[in-house]
Protein backbone atom coordinates (compact mmCIF):
# COMPACT_ATOMS: atom_id res chain seq x y z
CA UNK A 1 0.00 0.00 0.00
CA UNK A 2 1.39 3.27 -1.09
CA UNK A 3 2.32 5.86 1.54
CA UNK A 4 0.38 9.01 0.67
CA UNK A 5 2.26 12.12 1.74
CA UNK A 6 0.75 15.59 1.45
CA UNK A 7 3.14 18.53 1.88
CA UNK A 8 1.53 21.89 2.59
CA UNK A 9 3.44 24.83 1.14
CA UNK A 10 2.97 28.58 1.03
CA UNK A 11 3.81 31.17 -1.58
CA UNK A 12 5.15 34.20 0.31
CA UNK A 13 6.50 37.65 -0.50
CA UNK A 14 10.31 37.63 -0.59
CA UNK A 15 11.55 38.61 2.87
CA UNK A 16 14.43 40.53 1.34
CA UNK A 17 11.94 42.66 -0.64
CA UNK A 18 10.06 45.71 0.62
CA UNK A 19 7.08 43.93 2.20
CA UNK A 20 4.04 46.00 3.05
CA UNK A 21 0.29 46.01 3.50
CA UNK A 22 -2.45 46.63 0.92
CA UNK A 23 -5.24 49.14 1.56
CA UNK A 24 -7.49 46.50 3.10
CA UNK A 25 -4.67 45.67 5.57
CA UNK A 26 -3.95 42.28 4.03
CA UNK A 27 -0.40 41.42 3.00
CA UNK A 28 0.37 43.06 -0.35
CA UNK A 29 1.23 40.16 -2.65
CA UNK A 30 1.38 42.14 -5.90
CA UNK A 31 4.26 44.56 -5.45
CA UNK A 32 6.86 42.17 -4.10
CA UNK A 33 8.21 39.06 -5.81
CA UNK A 34 6.93 35.85 -4.33
CA UNK A 35 8.50 32.45 -3.82
CA UNK A 36 8.12 29.12 -2.04
CA UNK A 37 8.51 29.89 1.68
CA UNK A 38 12.04 28.82 2.54
CA UNK A 39 10.86 26.94 5.61
CA UNK A 40 8.58 24.78 3.43
CA UNK A 41 11.57 23.57 1.44
CA UNK A 42 12.58 21.59 4.52
CA UNK A 43 9.15 19.93 4.53
CA UNK A 44 9.51 18.96 0.86
CA UNK A 45 13.00 17.61 1.56
CA UNK A 46 11.86 15.42 4.45
CA UNK A 47 8.94 14.16 2.37
CA UNK A 48 11.38 13.14 -0.36
CA UNK A 49 13.61 11.36 2.14
CA UNK A 50 10.68 9.54 3.77
CA UNK A 51 9.40 8.54 0.31
CA UNK A 52 12.85 7.17 -0.56
CA UNK A 53 12.80 4.97 2.53
CA UNK A 54 9.28 3.70 1.88
CA UNK A 55 8.68 0.89 -0.59
CA UNK A 56 6.05 2.87 -2.37
CA UNK A 57 5.10 6.48 -1.75
CA UNK A 58 3.48 9.38 -3.50
CA UNK A 59 4.08 13.04 -2.62
CA UNK A 60 1.40 15.64 -3.29
CA UNK A 61 2.21 19.31 -2.67
CA UNK A 62 -0.73 21.46 -1.69
CA UNK A 63 -1.08 25.21 -1.55
CA UNK A 64 -3.84 27.78 -1.06
CA UNK A 65 -3.26 31.09 -2.78
CA UNK A 66 -3.62 33.26 -5.86
CA UNK A 67 -2.55 32.33 -9.39
CA UNK A 68 1.13 33.12 -8.74
CA UNK A 69 1.19 30.53 -5.95
CA UNK A 70 1.65 27.94 -8.71
CA UNK A 71 5.32 29.02 -8.71
CA UNK A 72 5.69 27.53 -5.23
CA UNK A 73 4.13 24.26 -6.41
CA UNK A 74 6.46 24.15 -9.46
CA UNK A 75 9.49 24.59 -7.21
CA UNK A 76 8.37 21.71 -5.00
CA UNK A 77 7.65 19.55 -8.05
CA UNK A 78 11.08 20.33 -9.48
CA UNK A 79 12.62 19.19 -6.18
CA UNK A 80 10.92 15.83 -6.76
CA UNK A 81 7.31 15.85 -5.52
CA UNK A 82 4.94 13.83 -7.74
CA UNK A 83 1.90 16.03 -8.17
CA UNK A 84 0.31 19.23 -6.95
CA UNK A 85 -3.01 20.68 -5.85
CA UNK A 86 -3.71 24.39 -6.04
CA UNK A 87 -6.71 25.72 -4.13
CA UNK A 88 -7.62 29.05 -5.66
CA UNK A 89 -10.76 31.13 -5.23
CA UNK A 90 -11.38 34.88 -5.21
CA UNK A 91 -13.37 34.49 -2.00
CA UNK A 92 -10.22 33.34 -0.18
CA UNK A 93 -8.66 36.81 -0.15
CA UNK A 94 -7.90 37.86 3.44
CA UNK A 95 -8.44 34.44 5.04
CA UNK A 96 -6.76 34.13 8.47
CA UNK A 97 -4.88 31.12 9.87
CA UNK A 98 -7.98 29.43 11.27
CA UNK A 99 -9.75 29.79 7.90
CA UNK A 100 -6.70 28.60 5.99
CA UNK A 101 -6.56 25.51 8.18
CA UNK A 102 -10.17 24.75 7.20
CA UNK A 103 -9.37 24.96 3.49
CA UNK A 104 -6.20 22.89 3.81
CA UNK A 105 -7.88 20.25 5.98
CA UNK A 106 -10.74 19.81 3.51
CA UNK A 107 -8.29 19.58 0.61
CA UNK A 108 -6.10 17.07 2.47
CA UNK A 109 -9.13 14.89 3.20
CA UNK A 110 -10.27 15.09 -0.40
CA UNK A 111 -6.78 14.21 -1.68
CA UNK A 112 -6.41 11.30 0.74
CA UNK A 113 -3.39 11.05 3.07
CA UNK A 114 -1.36 9.00 5.50
CA UNK A 115 1.09 11.72 6.42
CA UNK A 116 0.92 15.52 6.24
CA UNK A 117 4.23 17.40 6.39
CA UNK A 118 4.47 21.16 6.91
CA UNK A 119 7.26 23.64 7.53
CA UNK A 120 7.65 25.07 11.06
CA UNK A 121 6.08 28.44 10.10
CA UNK A 122 5.61 30.66 7.09
CA UNK A 123 8.18 33.38 6.53
CA UNK A 124 5.49 36.08 6.20
CA UNK A 125 2.86 35.44 8.88
CA UNK A 126 5.32 33.48 11.08
CA UNK A 127 2.56 32.22 13.40
CA UNK A 128 3.73 28.59 13.40
CA UNK A 129 0.31 27.25 14.39
CA UNK A 130 -1.01 25.84 11.10
CA UNK A 131 0.22 22.24 11.66
CA UNK A 132 -1.42 22.15 15.12
CA UNK A 133 -4.67 23.50 13.63
CA UNK A 134 -4.56 20.85 10.89
CA UNK A 135 -4.11 18.07 13.45
CA UNK A 136 -7.04 19.45 15.45
CA UNK A 137 -9.27 19.59 12.38
CA UNK A 138 -8.23 16.21 10.99
CA UNK A 139 -8.44 14.54 14.40
CA UNK A 140 -5.03 12.90 14.01
CA UNK A 141 -1.82 13.07 16.08
CA UNK A 142 0.33 16.21 15.90
CA UNK A 143 4.05 15.45 15.74
CA UNK A 144 5.46 18.92 15.27
CA UNK A 145 8.63 21.01 15.23
CA UNK A 146 10.84 18.02 14.53
CA UNK A 147 14.55 18.37 13.91
CA UNK A 148 14.73 14.68 13.01
CA UNK A 149 11.97 12.54 11.55
CA UNK A 150 11.52 8.98 10.34
CA UNK A 151 8.60 6.80 9.30
CA UNK A 152 8.50 3.00 9.48
CA UNK A 153 5.75 0.40 9.87
CA UNK A 154 3.00 2.97 10.07
CA UNK A 155 4.68 4.88 12.90
CA UNK A 156 6.28 8.32 12.77
CA UNK A 157 9.09 9.11 15.18
CA UNK A 158 10.99 12.31 15.68
CA UNK A 159 13.00 14.61 17.90
CA UNK A 160 11.52 17.89 19.07
CA UNK A 161 14.02 20.34 20.53
CA UNK A 162 12.22 22.57 23.02
CA UNK A 163 13.40 25.38 25.27
CA UNK A 164 13.91 23.27 28.35
CA UNK A 165 14.27 19.76 26.94
CA UNK A 166 14.71 17.70 23.82
CA UNK A 167 11.85 15.23 23.42
CA UNK A 168 11.50 11.97 21.49
CA UNK A 169 8.02 11.67 20.02
CA UNK A 170 6.09 8.81 18.51
CA UNK A 171 2.65 8.49 16.88
CA UNK A 172 0.76 6.16 14.58
CA UNK A 173 -0.19 7.24 11.06
CA UNK A 174 -2.15 9.07 9.84
CA UNK A 175 -0.48 12.09 11.43
CA UNK A 176 0.50 15.72 10.90
CA UNK A 177 4.22 16.45 11.10
CA UNK A 178 6.08 19.75 10.95
CA UNK A 179 9.85 20.04 10.52
CA UNK A 180 12.30 22.77 11.46
CA UNK A 181 15.19 24.23 9.49
CA UNK A 182 17.43 21.90 11.52
CA UNK A 183 15.91 18.81 9.90
CA UNK A 184 18.38 18.75 7.03
CA UNK A 185 19.35 21.02 4.17
CA UNK A 186 16.86 21.12 1.29
CA UNK A 187 18.12 19.94 -2.10
CA UNK A 188 18.35 22.23 -5.10
CA UNK A 189 16.20 21.22 -8.06
CA UNK A 190 18.29 19.58 -10.78
CA UNK A 191 17.92 20.57 -14.43
CA UNK A 192 16.24 17.22 -15.01
CA UNK A 193 13.92 17.90 -12.10
CA UNK A 194 12.96 21.30 -13.46
CA UNK A 195 12.16 19.81 -16.88
CA UNK A 196 10.22 16.91 -15.36
CA UNK A 197 8.18 19.29 -13.19
CA UNK A 198 6.68 20.88 -16.27
CA UNK A 199 4.93 17.63 -17.09
CA UNK A 200 3.70 16.84 -13.59
CA UNK A 201 -0.03 17.28 -12.95
CA UNK A 202 -1.28 20.39 -11.10
CA UNK A 203 -4.93 20.11 -10.12
CA UNK A 204 -6.98 23.23 -9.36
CA UNK A 205 -9.76 23.20 -6.80
CA UNK A 206 -12.04 26.02 -5.69
CA UNK A 207 -14.21 26.42 -2.60
CA UNK A 208 -17.11 24.61 -4.22
CA UNK A 209 -14.92 21.56 -4.85
CA UNK A 210 -14.17 21.53 -1.12
CA UNK A 211 -17.77 22.21 -0.05
CA UNK A 212 -16.76 25.37 1.81
CA UNK A 213 -19.12 28.35 1.91
CA UNK A 214 -17.64 31.73 0.95
CA UNK A 215 -18.58 33.25 4.33
CA UNK A 216 -16.47 30.68 6.19
CA UNK A 217 -13.28 32.21 4.74
CA UNK A 218 -11.92 35.50 3.41
CA UNK A 219 -11.80 38.79 5.29
CA UNK A 220 -15.46 38.51 6.33
CA UNK A 221 -15.10 34.95 7.60
CA UNK A 222 -11.93 35.79 9.51
CA UNK A 223 -12.08 35.44 13.31
CA UNK A 224 -9.53 38.21 13.75
CA UNK A 225 -9.49 41.76 12.46
CA UNK A 226 -6.53 44.02 11.79
CA UNK A 227 -7.44 47.57 12.85
CA UNK A 228 -4.25 49.27 11.71
CA UNK A 229 -0.79 48.66 10.32
CA UNK A 230 1.85 51.32 10.88
CA UNK A 231 5.31 51.35 9.44
CA UNK A 232 7.78 51.40 12.28
CA UNK A 233 9.83 54.59 12.21
CA UNK A 234 13.39 53.87 11.14
CA UNK A 235 15.73 53.73 14.10
CA UNK A 236 17.47 57.05 14.50
CA UNK A 237 21.07 56.96 13.40
CA UNK A 238 23.41 56.16 16.24
CA UNK A 239 27.02 57.01 16.92
CA UNK A 240 29.54 54.98 14.96
CA UNK A 241 33.21 55.09 15.82
CA UNK A 242 36.21 53.47 14.19
CA UNK A 243 38.37 51.44 16.54
CA UNK A 244 41.76 53.15 16.89
CA UNK A 245 42.76 50.98 19.81
CA UNK A 246 40.25 52.33 22.32
CA UNK A 247 37.02 51.00 20.74
CA UNK A 248 36.23 48.65 23.61
CA UNK A 249 36.72 51.41 26.18
CA UNK A 250 34.60 53.84 24.16
CA UNK A 251 31.84 51.25 23.99
CA UNK A 252 32.10 50.77 27.75
CA UNK A 253 31.69 54.55 28.19
CA UNK A 254 28.52 54.43 26.12
CA UNK A 255 27.13 51.56 28.20
CA UNK A 256 27.95 53.45 31.42
CA UNK A 257 26.11 56.50 30.02
CA UNK A 258 23.10 54.30 29.32
CA UNK A 259 23.36 52.83 32.85
CA UNK A 260 23.98 49.29 31.69
CA UNK A 261 27.17 49.15 33.74
Amino acid sequence: MSLRIVVTVKYVPDATGDRHFAEDLTVDRDDVDGLLSELDEYAVEQALQIADEADDAEITVLTVGPEDAKDALRKALSMGADKAIHVEDDDLHGTDAVGTSLVLAKAIEKAGYDLVISGMASTDGTMGVLPALLAERLGVPQVTLLSEVSVADGVVKGRRDGDSASEQLEASLPAVVSVTDQSGEARYPSFKGIMAAKKKPVQSWDLEDLEIEADEVGLEGSWTKVDSATERPARTAGTIVKDEGEGGKQLAEFLVGQKFI
Binding site: A15, T16, R19, F21, D96, A97, V98, S101, M120, D124, M127, G128, V129, A132, L133, A135, E136, G139, P141, Q142, V143, T144, R160, D161, G162, D163, S164, A165, S166, E167, Q168, L169, E170, D181, S222, W223, T224, K225, V226, D227, A229, T230, E231, R232, R235, T239, I240, V241, K242, D243, G245, G247, G248, K249, L251, A252, F254, L255, V256, F260
Partner: protein
Protein backbone atom coordinates in the same frame (compact mmCIF):
# COMPACT_ATOMS: atom_id res chain seq x y z
CA UNK B 1 -15.55 41.95 36.95
CA UNK B 2 -14.68 39.72 34.03
CA UNK B 3 -12.01 37.07 34.45
CA UNK B 4 -8.96 36.43 32.30
CA UNK B 5 -7.38 33.00 31.99
CA UNK B 6 -3.59 32.93 32.10
CA UNK B 7 -1.77 29.77 31.02
CA UNK B 8 1.20 29.20 33.32
CA UNK B 9 4.57 28.23 31.90
CA UNK B 10 6.51 26.57 34.71
CA UNK B 11 9.22 23.99 35.26
CA UNK B 12 8.30 21.66 38.16
CA UNK B 13 6.51 24.48 39.95
CA UNK B 14 9.01 27.29 39.20
CA UNK B 15 7.07 29.93 37.26
CA UNK B 16 8.89 31.37 34.26
CA UNK B 17 9.12 35.13 33.97
CA UNK B 18 6.91 35.59 30.84
CA UNK B 19 3.95 34.22 32.82
CA UNK B 20 4.37 36.98 35.41
CA UNK B 21 4.40 39.52 32.56
CA UNK B 22 1.13 37.99 31.33
CA UNK B 23 -0.41 38.62 34.75
CA UNK B 24 0.45 42.33 34.40
CA UNK B 25 -1.37 42.43 31.04
CA UNK B 26 -4.25 40.28 32.28
CA UNK B 27 -4.97 42.73 35.11
CA UNK B 28 -5.73 45.39 32.49
CA UNK B 29 -8.55 43.20 31.19
CA UNK B 30 -10.01 41.67 34.34
CA UNK B 31 -9.24 39.35 37.26
CA UNK B 32 -6.47 36.90 36.35
CA UNK B 33 -7.27 33.22 36.87
CA UNK B 34 -4.14 31.12 36.34
CA UNK B 35 -4.09 27.58 34.95
CA UNK B 36 -1.08 25.49 36.00
CA UNK B 37 -0.66 21.93 34.74
CA UNK B 38 1.65 19.00 35.39
CA UNK B 39 4.21 18.14 38.02
CA UNK B 40 4.54 20.85 40.67
CA UNK B 41 1.51 22.83 39.44
CA UNK B 42 0.23 23.58 42.95
CA UNK B 43 3.63 25.01 43.93
CA UNK B 44 3.17 27.86 41.47
CA UNK B 45 0.32 29.38 43.49
CA UNK B 46 2.32 31.55 45.90
CA UNK B 47 4.26 33.31 43.12
CA UNK B 48 1.17 33.71 40.97
CA UNK B 49 -0.81 35.18 43.89
CA UNK B 50 1.92 37.76 44.54
CA UNK B 51 1.52 38.95 40.95
CA UNK B 52 -2.24 39.18 40.81
CA UNK B 53 -3.80 35.75 40.31
CA UNK B 54 -7.13 35.66 42.14
CA UNK B 55 -7.39 31.93 41.56
CA UNK B 56 -5.05 29.16 40.47
CA UNK B 57 -6.62 26.16 38.75
CA UNK B 58 -4.31 23.15 38.92
CA UNK B 59 -4.13 19.59 37.69
CA UNK B 60 -1.05 17.40 38.10
CA UNK B 61 -2.04 14.45 35.88
CA UNK B 62 0.86 12.53 34.31
CA UNK B 63 -0.64 12.94 30.81
CA UNK B 64 0.70 16.50 30.52
CA UNK B 65 4.28 15.24 30.44
CA UNK B 66 3.65 11.91 28.72
CA UNK B 67 1.82 13.19 25.65
CA UNK B 68 2.31 16.19 23.38
CA UNK B 69 0.15 19.35 23.50
CA UNK B 70 -3.38 17.87 23.38
CA UNK B 71 -3.85 17.08 27.11
CA UNK B 72 -3.04 20.72 27.85
CA UNK B 73 -5.60 21.85 25.27
CA UNK B 74 -8.18 19.63 26.99
CA UNK B 75 -7.33 21.23 30.33
CA UNK B 76 -7.52 24.81 29.07
CA UNK B 77 -10.84 24.01 27.44
CA UNK B 78 -12.10 22.70 30.80
CA UNK B 79 -10.87 25.92 32.44
CA UNK B 80 -12.66 28.03 29.84
CA UNK B 81 -15.87 26.14 30.56
CA UNK B 82 -15.51 26.50 34.36
CA UNK B 83 -14.86 30.25 34.21
CA UNK B 84 -17.50 30.93 31.54
CA UNK B 85 -20.13 29.06 33.55
CA UNK B 86 -19.38 31.10 36.69
CA UNK B 87 -19.16 34.53 35.10
CA UNK B 88 -17.75 36.20 32.05
CA UNK B 89 -14.43 35.37 30.42
CA UNK B 90 -12.68 38.36 28.81
CA UNK B 91 -9.70 36.61 27.23
CA UNK B 92 -7.23 33.75 27.40
CA UNK B 93 -3.58 34.84 27.56
CA UNK B 94 -0.79 32.39 26.75
CA UNK B 95 2.99 32.87 26.59
CA UNK B 96 4.46 32.78 23.06
CA UNK B 97 6.57 29.66 23.52
CA UNK B 98 6.49 27.18 20.63
CA UNK B 99 4.37 24.71 22.56
CA UNK B 100 2.03 27.25 24.14
CA UNK B 101 1.31 28.78 20.71
CA UNK B 102 0.21 25.36 19.46
CA UNK B 103 -1.96 24.91 22.55
CA UNK B 104 -3.52 28.35 22.06
CA UNK B 105 -4.34 27.72 18.40
CA UNK B 106 -6.04 24.38 19.04
CA UNK B 107 -7.96 25.81 21.99
CA UNK B 108 -9.17 28.75 19.89
CA UNK B 109 -10.41 26.44 17.15
CA UNK B 110 -12.24 24.26 19.65
CA UNK B 111 -14.03 27.09 21.41
CA UNK B 112 -14.76 28.87 18.11
CA UNK B 113 -12.58 31.87 18.85
CA UNK B 114 -10.05 33.88 16.91
CA UNK B 115 -6.40 33.61 17.89
CA UNK B 116 -3.65 36.23 17.80
CA UNK B 117 -0.03 35.13 18.21
CA UNK B 118 3.14 36.93 19.29
CA UNK B 119 1.54 40.08 20.68
CA UNK B 120 4.00 42.61 22.12
CA UNK B 121 1.29 44.53 23.96
CA UNK B 122 -2.35 44.02 24.96
CA UNK B 123 -4.66 46.89 25.85
CA UNK B 124 -8.23 47.01 27.08
CA UNK B 125 -10.82 48.57 24.80
CA UNK B 126 -14.62 48.89 25.00
CA UNK B 127 -14.98 46.19 22.37
CA UNK B 128 -12.44 43.83 23.91
CA UNK B 129 -8.68 43.52 24.01
CA UNK B 130 -6.49 45.01 21.28
CA UNK B 131 -3.17 43.29 20.58
CA UNK B 132 -0.10 44.96 19.11
CA UNK B 133 2.06 42.78 16.88
CA UNK B 134 5.42 43.47 15.30
CA UNK B 135 5.47 42.08 11.76
CA UNK B 136 7.62 41.77 8.61
CA UNK B 137 10.84 41.56 10.56
CA UNK B 138 9.58 44.32 12.86
CA UNK B 139 9.25 46.85 10.03
CA UNK B 140 5.51 47.22 10.75
CA UNK B 141 3.43 47.37 13.88
CA UNK B 142 -0.19 46.17 13.65
CA UNK B 143 -3.13 46.45 16.01
CA UNK B 144 -5.42 43.45 15.85
CA UNK B 145 -8.52 42.28 17.69
CA UNK B 146 -10.42 39.03 17.80
CA UNK B 147 -13.79 39.41 16.11
CA UNK B 148 -15.33 36.07 17.08
CA UNK B 149 -15.55 34.32 20.44
CA UNK B 150 -13.29 34.78 23.47
CA UNK B 151 -9.96 36.29 22.38
CA UNK B 152 -7.05 33.86 22.67
CA UNK B 153 -3.80 35.82 22.59
CA UNK B 154 -0.21 34.64 22.86
CA UNK B 155 2.26 37.22 24.15
CA UNK B 156 6.01 37.43 23.60
CA UNK B 157 8.45 37.64 26.50
CA UNK B 158 9.53 41.14 27.63
CA UNK B 159 6.21 42.66 26.49
CA UNK B 160 5.23 43.98 29.94
CA UNK B 161 6.90 44.63 33.28
CA UNK B 162 6.58 42.15 36.13
CA UNK B 163 4.55 43.88 38.86
CA UNK B 164 3.76 42.94 42.43
CA UNK B 165 -0.03 42.96 42.92
CA UNK B 166 -0.96 40.65 45.77
CA UNK B 167 -4.23 38.74 45.32
CA UNK B 168 -5.86 35.70 46.89
CA UNK B 169 -4.42 33.06 44.56
CA UNK B 170 -6.79 30.42 45.90
CA UNK B 171 -5.86 26.98 44.59
CA UNK B 172 -8.67 24.97 43.05
CA UNK B 173 -8.39 21.54 41.47
CA UNK B 174 -9.34 21.59 37.80
CA UNK B 175 -11.31 18.58 36.69
CA UNK B 176 -10.16 17.49 33.22
CA UNK B 177 -11.60 14.79 31.00
CA UNK B 178 -9.05 13.89 28.35
CA UNK B 179 -10.20 13.73 24.74
CA UNK B 180 -9.72 10.76 22.41
CA UNK B 181 -6.81 12.62 20.76
CA UNK B 182 -5.00 13.31 24.04
CA UNK B 183 -2.82 10.21 23.90
CA UNK B 184 -2.10 10.39 20.16
CA UNK B 185 1.49 11.58 20.35
CA UNK B 186 3.58 9.87 22.99
CA UNK B 187 6.68 11.46 24.51
CA UNK B 188 8.99 8.43 24.68
CA UNK B 189 12.06 10.25 25.96
CA UNK B 190 13.08 13.59 27.35
CA UNK B 191 16.58 15.00 27.73
CA UNK B 192 16.61 18.22 29.76
CA UNK B 193 18.90 20.94 28.45
CA UNK B 194 22.07 21.39 30.38
CA UNK B 195 21.91 24.63 32.28
CA UNK B 196 24.59 27.13 31.30
CA UNK B 197 23.88 29.23 34.38
CA UNK B 198 23.07 32.15 32.08
CA UNK B 199 19.64 33.77 31.75
CA UNK B 200 17.11 32.34 29.29
CA UNK B 201 17.69 33.96 25.89
CA UNK B 202 14.14 35.25 25.31
CA UNK B 203 13.80 36.52 28.88
CA UNK B 204 17.20 38.16 29.36
CA UNK B 205 17.56 41.92 29.89
CA UNK B 206 20.85 41.86 27.97
CA UNK B 207 21.79 39.61 25.04
CA UNK B 208 25.32 39.32 23.64
CA UNK B 209 25.44 37.62 20.22
CA UNK B 210 28.11 36.36 17.88
CA UNK B 211 27.99 35.78 14.14
CA UNK B 212 30.11 34.81 11.17
CA UNK B 213 32.87 37.15 12.30
CA UNK B 214 33.46 35.07 15.43
CA UNK B 215 34.97 32.51 13.07
CA UNK B 216 34.96 29.27 15.05
CA UNK B 217 33.29 27.60 18.01
CA UNK B 218 36.38 28.03 20.22
CA UNK B 219 36.21 31.80 19.69
CA UNK B 220 32.72 31.97 21.22
CA UNK B 221 34.54 31.99 24.57
CA UNK B 222 35.14 35.73 24.15
CA UNK B 223 31.41 36.28 23.44
CA UNK B 224 30.54 34.25 26.53
CA UNK B 225 33.06 36.18 28.63
CA UNK B 226 31.46 39.49 27.62
CA UNK B 227 28.00 38.05 28.33
CA UNK B 228 29.07 36.87 31.77
CA UNK B 229 30.57 40.25 32.65
CA UNK B 230 27.10 41.76 32.04
CA UNK B 231 24.99 38.87 33.36
CA UNK B 232 23.66 38.45 29.83
CA UNK B 233 22.36 35.60 27.69
CA UNK B 234 24.37 34.45 24.66
CA UNK B 235 22.88 34.49 21.17
CA UNK B 236 24.18 33.47 17.76
CA UNK B 237 23.33 34.33 14.18
CA UNK B 238 22.14 31.71 11.74
CA UNK B 239 25.54 31.76 10.01
CA UNK B 240 27.27 30.84 13.26
CA UNK B 241 24.73 28.13 14.06
CA UNK B 242 24.78 26.64 10.56
CA UNK B 243 28.57 26.52 10.77
CA UNK B 244 28.18 24.43 13.93
CA UNK B 245 29.88 26.96 16.19
CA UNK B 246 27.00 27.41 18.61
CA UNK B 247 23.77 25.45 19.44
CA UNK B 248 20.57 26.12 17.54
CA UNK B 249 18.75 26.82 20.81
CA UNK B 250 20.73 30.06 20.97
CA UNK B 251 19.91 31.19 17.45
CA UNK B 252 18.43 34.69 17.18
CA UNK B 253 16.42 35.41 14.06
CA UNK B 254 13.51 34.37 11.96
CA UNK B 255 14.06 30.63 12.36
CA UNK B 256 15.39 30.92 15.86
CA UNK B 257 14.39 32.98 18.87
CA UNK B 258 12.96 36.42 18.72
CA UNK B 259 14.37 38.62 21.47
CA UNK B 260 13.52 42.06 22.74
CA UNK B 261 16.00 42.87 25.52
CA UNK B 262 16.95 46.23 27.00
CA UNK B 263 20.39 45.88 25.40
CA UNK B 264 21.49 43.79 22.41
CA UNK B 265 25.18 43.56 21.52
CA UNK B 266 25.86 42.11 18.03
CA UNK B 267 29.43 40.98 17.41
CA UNK B 268 30.60 40.01 13.93
CA UNK B 269 27.00 39.95 12.70
CA UNK B 270 26.27 41.63 9.37
CA UNK B 271 22.57 42.14 10.12
CA UNK B 272 20.78 40.24 7.35
CA UNK B 273 16.95 40.40 7.38
CA UNK B 274 16.94 36.86 8.82
CA UNK B 275 18.73 38.14 11.91
CA UNK B 276 17.04 41.54 12.16
CA UNK B 277 13.67 39.81 12.34
CA UNK B 278 14.69 38.37 15.69
CA UNK B 279 16.26 41.39 17.42
CA UNK B 280 15.05 44.61 15.81
CA UNK B 281 12.71 45.47 18.69
CA UNK B 282 15.54 45.51 21.24
CA UNK B 283 15.56 48.80 23.18
CA UNK B 284 19.24 49.64 22.72
CA UNK B 285 21.36 48.04 20.00
CA UNK B 286 25.14 48.00 19.89
CA UNK B 287 27.35 46.38 17.25
CA UNK B 288 30.98 45.56 16.69
CA UNK B 289 31.88 44.68 13.11
CA UNK B 290 34.97 45.17 10.98
CA UNK B 291 32.86 46.00 7.91
CA UNK B 292 31.72 49.64 8.10
CA UNK B 293 29.13 48.89 5.39
CA UNK B 294 27.41 46.08 7.35
CA UNK B 295 23.62 46.69 7.49
CA UNK B 296 23.64 46.11 11.26
CA UNK B 297 25.09 49.65 11.62
CA UNK B 298 21.78 51.06 10.28
CA UNK B 299 20.09 49.80 13.45
CA UNK B 300 22.58 50.66 16.14
CA UNK B 301 22.56 53.25 18.88
CA UNK B 302 26.29 52.79 19.12
CA UNK B 303 28.61 50.96 16.75
CA UNK B 304 32.31 50.22 16.67
CA UNK B 305 33.94 49.52 13.31
CA UNK B 306 36.80 47.27 14.25
CA UNK B 307 38.14 43.80 14.90
CA UNK B 308 35.93 42.09 17.44
CA UNK B 309 38.93 40.12 18.72
CA UNK B 310 40.43 43.46 19.85
CA UNK B 311 37.30 45.35 20.83
CA UNK B 312 35.31 42.69 22.70
CA UNK B 313 38.04 41.56 25.16
CA UNK B 314 38.88 45.22 25.84
CA UNK B 315 35.19 45.92 26.54
CA UNK B 316 34.95 42.88 28.83
CA UNK B 317 38.03 43.98 30.79
CA UNK B 318 36.70 47.52 31.10
CA UNK B 319 33.33 46.28 32.40
CA UNK B 320 35.04 44.03 34.95
CA UNK B 321 37.25 46.90 36.12
CA UNK B 322 34.32 49.29 36.45
CA UNK B 323 32.20 46.74 38.28
CA UNK B 324 35.20 46.19 40.55
Amino acid sequence: MAEVLVYVDHVDGAVRKPTLELLTLARRLGDPVAVALGNGAANTAATLAEHGAVKVLTDEAAEYADYLVVPKVDALQAAVEVVSAAGSLAAVLVPSSAEAKEIAARLALRIGSGVITDAVDVEADDEGPVATQSVFAASYSTKTRVSKGTPVITVKPNSAPVEAAPAAGAVEALSVTFSAQATGTKVTGRTPRESTGRPELTEAAIVVSGGRGVNGSENFAIIEALADSLGAAVGASRAAVDAGWYPHTNQVGQTGKSVSPQLYIANGISGAIQHRAGMQTSKTIVAVNKDAEAPIFDLVDYGVVGDLFEVVPQLTEEIKTRKG
